[in-house]
Amino acid sequence: MTGIVLWYLNRATGITSLVLMTLTVVLGTLVRRHGRIPGLPRFAVQGLHRNVGLLSALLLITHVGTAIVDSYVDIGVSSTFVPFVAGYRPFAVGLGTLAVDLLLLVLVTSLLRNHLPLRLWKAVHLTSYLLWPLAFVHGITAGTDLGGGWLLWLVLGCAVAATWASLAALATRRNTPPPGERAAAALTATSDALATGTPVGVFRNG
């Protein structure tokens, strides 16, 4: 009985965590692009990114905990941090372990962000783009429910969303002029907009 509960809890937290991670990535790229969610101020987008990320980490604790406690599969405590040592599907579980390690790094540096050099925080934060694929591949290799039902479509939806968001962030990065050229470009754009009476957009500052 407890075994079944643990198994269901593990799968449920795993899939929910992946969905929340995807949402965190999408919101993170939105923050990076200075984007908005209708009805929310910009700082709320940032807050949402942070809180959804924290929530996915919380769920991950349950996900890892239940996998270890469940005696039906051989996943030891060491598998929480050391990859590829589990007795059950070592490669698939190992990918999940790597993702947990990275997530821990991203989480800790973000909580300590005000006390760290900005560049260090940024470098660690960018590993999220590695973290997500690790978690995703872990999900489809270790998962047992992807028979072709709604769960498969959910996971594929996550992949599309994360890919689209990453590409959009990359495009914004390429289209943002270097600091020295932004002001002049903004001035020209504003003058043109005021002359024609069209609304002025938002200028990207990195």
């Binding site: 600091p179 020295g180 932004r182 002001a183 001035l187 200028f203």
Partner: protein
């Protein structure tokens, strides 16, 4: 940049017989070995780079930071003068470079600095290099050319440039007095501040009580620009010829417009200028002739300032170009889009205190003062008239920003 006319001491900042080391020694004597900390404190010297920060406090905090980090601090003489209307730093570096070097040697010695920089316009460097060769300072001074940009003299931008990075301002924490050039505690002082320090060290009690002023006016229709050494507390009307002027720009492009009649009676010190919303800034006084349009002059300057935004902080990058473009429309005779003036005021309220540096704050202050002082002109523009004579800009603006 010609002679000085204001009442001055016998050995004022610009009164030396010449710039050479021999002439400098003859006029001022050798630099005595003194501790600048107490002297500066007693003299009440305020920085002359624009912010008017007490020099004693800066010295103290760099000394404290150096002791805490156990790293030798860096001292920087800031002669960048990114303000297009100002010429006092360049004038000082041409007429009395050794006073600046003396001041730099003094603070370097007292702080135990191992590195000293002087940052200035590239055109000034060959002469400065020749003057440096005559000196035997324990800490050698490295000359650094500064790119002509409004923000290049901002202290964190200057430190970044000295480190070989792009000259962009950064957040105020940690301050450069704790982590500046090479990550070391860094003392950045304006060149005039250092020159005054050199005089204070020689026992000139009045050195802290006057300031270099760049005057810009028109006398009989002819432009007049010079740099004078003016005692603090002098009436603006005694420094500038105001009979043909309609308003005075006090403090330069980061400053404030004041009506000529009111400005004439203002005294040049912090306390007297504060009620008029003005500050000494980098010591620019510009008397706008009565045949110019104050709004057009301001719009041109604000357009330049908006283009000089470092483009890093959203409020500045998104705010200043909007304000500049709107002001440009308001500065032309003819009906402006309805609500544009209210938009400018609303945007202006959103900017102060929200940038890494105070560039947006200062620009917004200039805009607000222009709308207040030239309100009659605004009304005239609405009616399709303007009393300005076009084609003769008064305030200098570099042709293409950056």
């Amino acid at each position: 940049m010609t002679a000085m006319t204001a009442p001055s001491r016998t050995r004022g900042l610009l009164d030396g017989p010449g710039p050479s080391f021999g002439e400098h020694l003859a006029a001022h004597g050798p630099l005595p070995v003194v501790d600048p900390h107490t002297l500066v404190e007693e003299a009440g010297l305020l920085g002359r780079g624009g912010a008017g920060f007490p020099t004693a406090a800066k010295l103290r905090s760099v000394a404290t930071a150096a002791a805490a980090s156990r790293r030798a601090p860096v001292v920087v003489a800031n002669g960048s003068e990114g303000e297009p209307a100002a010429a006092k730093d360049a004038t000082l570096l041409v007429l009395a470079p050794h006073l600046v070097f003396d001041g730099l040697a003094l603070v370097a010695g007292s702080l135990g600095a191992t590195t000293a920089y002087l940052a200035a316009d590239p055109a000034l460097l060959p002469a400065l290099s020749a003057h440096l060769a005559d000196r035997r300072d324990p800490v050698g001074v490295r000359l650094h050319p500064v790119a002509q940009a409004f923000l290049s003299g901002e202290e964190s931008a200057l430190c970044a440039a000295l480190d070989g990075r792009p000259a962009l301002p950064r957040t105020k924490f940690p301050p450069v007095r704790e982590r500046g050039v090479d990550g070391r505690p860094t003392l950045v002082l304006n060149v005039e501040t250092l020159a005054r320090l050199a005089l204070i060290a020689r026992g000139d009690d009045l050195a802290a009580a006057s300031m270099l002023v760049t005057r810009r006016m028109e006398i009989g229709g002819t432009p007049w620009v010079d740099v004078v050494d003016v005692p603090l507390g002098t009436r603006v009307g005694d420094v500038l010829r105001l009979d043909e002027a309609q308003a005075v720009l006090i403090g330069g492009y980061a400053g404030t417009w004041v009506e000529a009649g009111r400005a004439a009676h203002l005294r040049l010190d912090r306390e007297s200028l504060a009620p008029a919303g003005a500050a000494l800034g980098a010591g620019v006084l510009a008397a706008l002739p009565s045949d110019r349009c104050g709004l057009a002059e301001t719009a041109r300057v604000v357009g330049y300032l908006a283009g000089e935004s470092a483009g890093q902080c959203g409020p500045c990058l998104n705010g200043l170009p909007r304000i500049a473009a709107a002001l440009d429309l308001l500065a032309r005779p003819g009906p402006a889009p309805s609500g544009l003036l209210r938009d400018v005021q609303r945007w202006s309220g959103l900017l102060p205190g929200r940038g890494a540096c105070s560039h947006p704050d200062a620009t917004v202050r200039l805009v607000a003062s222009s709308l207040r002082v030239f309100s009659d002109e605004l009304a005239r523009h609405r009616a399709g008239r303007c009393h300005g004579r076009y084609g003769h800009p008064f305030l200098p603006v570099p042709r293409s920003p950056r």
